[in-house]
Point group: C2
């Protein structure tokens, strides 16, 4: 049985303007690979309602799971929850269970649960909450879409809350072989190996360092013994 598939939607003008370098994509990619869920596509979209709704709809239709990152705080530019609700034609308003979580958190902190903070209790009907052990304001899952915060520490905590609830496949394993030859020398012999191991995937990731060209050949599959056999043959091709 093939592994479940996933996509990610990163929401944030700060990534697209080059101000911030996204960290959540790389983190989620590693976590999903370990769990045997194949991340197939990532879209980074701006803080724009139409763009977010269109991306969430397309990804929710195309993949088993969708993870969103960003845009669920209390400020005017935090529109993700409303956009995801719109993508599912779901009603959204401040929900009692989320309000109770925020109320308890801010009472303990001696902070007012003002109108802006209450925005973080806006949860679509039918969604289940995602625990946020860092700053209380929850994420949520509706349909196959998991809506999470953009702040990396909170995003990671929410991923830890969600992933154990999902059915994974066989974890994708990989071995990497560094070959210090130009890709043009590697390509021909490598192609024969690719043909011989149809169940494995081979990637060639060239590098250039100190004026020397080389490539890391990454072999991916679900059985380590087969990977190591293929790697040994690869090494033998380039003595």
């Amino acid at each position: 049985m093939p592994n479940p598939t996933a996509a990610m939607c990163v929401i944030g003008d700060e990534i697209l303007s080059g101000r911030t370098r996204d960290a959540n994509m790389h983190y989620l990619a590693g976590q999903l690979t370990e769990r045997g869920i194949d991340l197939k596509e990532v879209r980074v979209v701006s803080d724009d309602r139409d763009a977010i709704v269109a991306a969430v709809k397309a990804l929710a239709d195309g993949f088993d799971h969708v993870f969103t990152s960003g845009g669920i705080g209390p400020t005017h530019d935090d529109i993700t929850a409303d956009c995801v609700a719109a993508a599912f034609d779901a009603h959204i308003d401040v929900r009692d269970d989320a309000r109770a979580i925020l109320a308890a958190h801010y009472e303990k902190a001696g902070t007012e649960l003002n109108e802006a903070r209450l925005r973080m209790a806006r949860i679509p009907d039918g969604a289940t909450l995602i625990d946020n052990p860092v700053s209380a304001a929850p994420g949520f899952t509706i349909g196959n879409v998991h809506v999470m915060a953009g702040v990396p520490s909170i995003f990671q905590a929410m991923v830890a809350s969600v992933l154990p609830t999902l059915t994974g496949g066989a974890p994708l394993l990989s071995v990497t072989q560094r070959i210090e030859r130009g890709e043009g020398d590697i390509a021909g012999p490598l192609a024969t190996l690719v043909d011989a191991y149809q169940d494995l995937s081979f990637g060639s990731y060239p590098f250039q360092k100190d004026g020397k060209f080389g490539s890391n050949i990454v072999i991916r599959g679900t059985e380590m013994a087969v990977l190591e056999e293929a790697q040994a043959k690869l090494v033998a091709l380039f003595p």
Copy 2:
């Protein structure tokens, strides 16, 4: 006149598996912002023909410029050039101008221009070549799509070759104000400022450091004097 828009398509299983952290998106985002071209969307797709063709078509239809990164080397998994040609219904084969560049480069290096390396001379009919001062093998522009290498040093050199040929808009400027209060305290007063400056865009990027919450408010626009005026008012809101 609004600024030209752009999108990026990153091709590579190595990003989606979490093996490699993409660097080209962040680089391109900064370069485009400086040039007054608004990066509106990024898609990361796997080394899969259908996925690449669909993404390139959608982005080429939706934005003024599309930049692709990755998949133009000599190995079996380098299928970007053929996919972009398919997206434009263009014929593709080894082209004499690209072959001449490769032949000169490899002759100088004393390296054989073998069948694998010749794959890098596959250029769609009607495309113009993008200079690659690092390793010779050219990128190309077809329609509004600029096809570039994934190796960061080569990607950056190709961006430097392409950007001067594009018409930019007014460079987007920004000021950042760090406010050491929770976003929930910032949101209300900030909203009044957002309403007062319709020509500016305000982003709130929360952080958590040493247990303290705060937010960087980024104000973006094209006139520094207006940005500084809005920033002064922002500071006055949070004495």
